[in-house]
Amino acid sequence: MTSMTSPGAKENFALAAETAAVSRGYWTTVWTRLVRDPVSVGCALVLLLMVLIAVFAPWLAPYDPSQGTMLKRLSPIGTEGHWLGTDELGRDMLSRLMHGGQMSLLMGLMPVFIAFLVGTSLGLIAGFFGGWINSLIMRTTDVFFAFPAVLLAIAISGALGAGFVNAIISLTLVFIPPIARVAESVTTSVRNLDFVEAARASGAGNFTIIRVHVLGNVLGPVFIYATSLVSVCMILAAGLSFLGLGVRPPVPEWGLMLNTLRQSIYIQPWISVLPGLMIFITSLCFNLLSDGLRSAMDIKR
């Protein structure tokens, strides 16, 4: 919804594609630059920790996330035994936040990942073959660009109905067009470079040229772009759940928790802040990490 179509983005990605072809040790250089950036390393560690906590939540969490005691409803933060308090059904907040990471992270990453696969393929085909194939694919993406992303996601989800799978489908559909657009512009700029011409002159077929010469140069810039979409996707996915269009109760998920706790802001305001804080921290880390990756890959500076 936000940084998907900044002007000049195309040119930047095209430049990145050219530098990518320069040297063999490119990825090693990028990696060294990335691990020297304290912000990126910090964000990567926070995200790693979140993923680990989410994966091992069944063993780490002190309580069952779906089992509550009505007597202990909405205990404040700092209550003994429930040091992050309890929710409106008396379930332990810490345990629910730990388990909630599973769904929230999955719904933030999976749509972008699928869209990355599909969008890159479409963009490669459109950019490499050009002509009417390009027109067909790119004019179709133009139609999706005519909708604001949030509206499109909510419209598709609203029509399909609530549920995990439907939310994933609608979010994926939202992210395919922008990724395809970036992949197409990078592919078009790579296709006209001399080494592709040389490969063709030495008798390489389309498939070989794409696989050996084009793909490696396109994946990098498109990957960076896709990482910048993860934070948007996290916010949108939790937003769908917040509207009641994502996962259904009693599954712990940060957006849904935010929705149900919203009714209790006059009783225990600060508890309802917690799930949103988790979404915020995750999305901030993904954004900062993506920015760090982008400047690490920008070797010119």
């Binding site: 139609v143 909708f147 604001p148 509206l151 909510i154 917040f242 949103g276 979404i279």
Partner: protein, 317 residues
Amino acid sequence: MFVFIIRRFLYAIPIALAVAAVCFSLVHLAPGDPLTAIIPADAPAEVVIAIQQAYGMDRPLIVQFGSWIQRALQGDLGVSVATGRPVMGDIALALSNTLLLAFAAALLGFFGGILLGGLAAIYNGTWIDKLATALAITGVSIPHYWLGLLLVIIFSVQLDWLPSMGAGPGGSSDWRLDWAHLRHLVLPAVTMCFIPMGIVTRTVRATVSEILNSEFVTALYARGLRGRRIALHVAKNAAPTVLSVMGLQFGYLLGGSILVETVFSWPGTGYLLNTAIFQRDIPLLQGIILVLAMFFVGLNLLVDVLQTLMDPRIKRG
């Protein structure tokens, strides 16, 4: 240039048609018959057919689409399944509220963004730059519905300074310019201004610092120009890019307000869309999406044309 503008106008027509087709097909994305919401499960077959005929659902899809477009062009977007009222009236009222909120948020966000981004570019590398960049990245990373909730907790629940719900006192939905109504606008507008502020800050910072480093600015300094006159040159060069970003952001504000409107019960299109989704009121859903998407198409067109008029370097075609 005029050739480009005319071509751009002509290109908007197929886009608008395709957008309408997507909105129309939303009905058929929905599981089950679009009329399940109003046909009782045990209704006899002839009643079902009668209702289908009344809504025109028995004809081929392409015919339905054609007549839907034709009626939409005349301002008739069908009848709400839930209320039986024409959809258009409800949408028009809601749209005016959404536009009001979007304008307020855009005003705050664009002003803040230009100020922050400009300062960051001028004081490149200093703490001002770092603060502006940090604010910008926070603006784009924060889930705005959560920010809204946070503001409600602080300013309505704890401090009791500002109202948290509705567009006016007593749930009135017709807006007037007075303090009682403005109070209701503050929190949702501030909530929504953060994303455009972040994006505009980033754009202005990048564009202005690039211009400040360009040769012609050095030449201007060499000729003895200072302060305000340099700023005028920089602003003229940065304007097309910044304007196009602001145009897009305004469109996103219109379409993206649904979550914030839900938090604040703001009687706009987002809130109406939410109602439509949960009552499975497909004509209403279709109508809102169509109107908002058409606004967005028009806005994109306007931005492109303005950009071409402002920047003679752009020769497209």
